[in-house]
Amino acid sequence: MSTMEGYNFAYLDEATKRMIRRAILKAVAIPGHQIPFGAREMPLPYGWGTGGIQVTASILGPQDTLKVIDQGSDDTTNAISIRRFFRRVAGVATTEHTAEASIIQTRHRIPERPLREDQIIVYQVPQPEPLFRLEPRRAETKRLHALADYGLMHVRLYEDIARLGHIAKAYDYPVMVNGRYLMSPSPIPAFDNPKMDRMPALQLFGAGREKRIYAIPPYTEVRSLDFEDHPFRPIRAPHACALCRSTDTYLDEVITDDAGGRIFVCSDTDFCAERQAAAAPKEAAE
């Protein structure tokens, strides 16, 4: 196998993998509940997705094909580094195509292409505790989760509505998992939240610095918090993608010149490229 000399398969030692695997299994059995684990130092700094990397390293096998995205893109330094890391330490195949991947590690997006039963998505999580900004004491948030007492979060969201007329959270918009646990979806845009609901793929979440793992099993109800008179609305920029003309994908604003010119393009580069490729022959024939 073409793995890096002197390292165990997928970098982590077997005892660490077992510990993380046990945490993952309990996370699946208790959807949305954060499980502490003994995170290891990784050869990449925090903020580079060390939690996601440890989860990926613990589930990955030689049969897998790995895709890594950062804000929807396969081409950022972060995504390229993580992909290269796993090619080196596990010898696994990598891909930029969502449809070809068996494991997708992501920072801040869910691919536009619906995920399948034979795929696993691993989210990199900087702050796993949805109540962190409202209650910084860890012992207290544990107690609130035990009691399913999420009044603090409802009050926080309702204050937004009272002040601004809408809920101001565009990212990391809190969700209820299987009607029991309040969960941070990681800093994905709220636009992506509905994709989590009853997703056929298994969803795993790894927070390296905070040393927490949590999960959403397939086909599990994930509901964005809202109010009867202010239902949750996934937001996107009201434009068509400048490259593929999609009107239902999440868009990034891109500055095109020093004069303040700007365009909107799909944040999911693979999805956008596939749409452009599919449209190209048709347009050529026209």
Partner: protein, 191 residues
């Protein structure tokens, strides 16, 4: 005592493959997975249960078992898990005969429900498409699972286990080289 049979032929990759089978089983309750092909553990330990413990149990996970001295020696050697006398103190409980009551196993607490035990329960057979009707997280509509040789009263005991959510016990059913899982969230109705 006879010499111990071998553990995993490839400890790293076989553990990974077994873990993925258990993960898939736990994520999709009632779907039957394969594990332990090629393992020859001492009886009454079956191949799937042996593989599950080889891949997940170690010095950090107290183990309770009713499988006799030979299987105990085999698991001690290959996993290094400390064997405990009280099932309620174990992280992994291996039942090959009359299973201990679910309620007698570690349940976890409201704050630490992940401390609930994993029961590795050997049964005579597992078959998809008939038998119990399973619903809950991991299941789009309904999965059917026929379990040959489930302990008497299991379905009623399971309902009590599920009602204690988030506390409770998770079960990995093992038959030969097959396994299926029952996370504490799953609802079981008799077929």
């Amino acid at each position: 005592m006879t010499a111990l049979t071998a553990g995993f032929a490839d400890p790293v990759l076989d553990a990974q493959a077994t873990f993925r089978a258990v993960l898939e089983a736990m994520s999709r309750p009632g779907r039957v997975q394969r594990a332990g092909a090629g393992l020859r553990p001492p009886g009454p330990l079956n191949a799937a249960a042996a593989a599950v413990l080889l891949s997940l149990a170690d010095a950090d996970t107290p183990l309770w078992l009713d499988a006799g001295a030979e299987a105990e020696a085999w698991l001690r050697f290959h996993c290094g898990a400390p064997v405990v006398a009280a099932a309620g103190a174990a992280a992994f409980v291996l039942a090959t005969r009359a299973a201990p009551a679910l309620a007698s196993l570690a349940q976890g607490s409201e704050e630490e429900p992940q401390q609930g035990a994993t029961l590795v329960l050997q049964v005579a057979g597992l078959e998809e498409g008939a038998g119990w009707r399973l619903t809950g997280p991991g299941i789009a509509h309904e999965h059917r699972l026929r379990v040959a040789g489930a302990p008497p009263g299991f379905v009623a005991a399971w309902a009590a286990n599920r009602a204690a959510f988030p506390c409770g016990v998770d079960v990995v059913l093992c038959a030969g080289e097959h396994l299926a899982a029952l996370p504490r969230t799953v609802a079981i109705a008799e077929g």
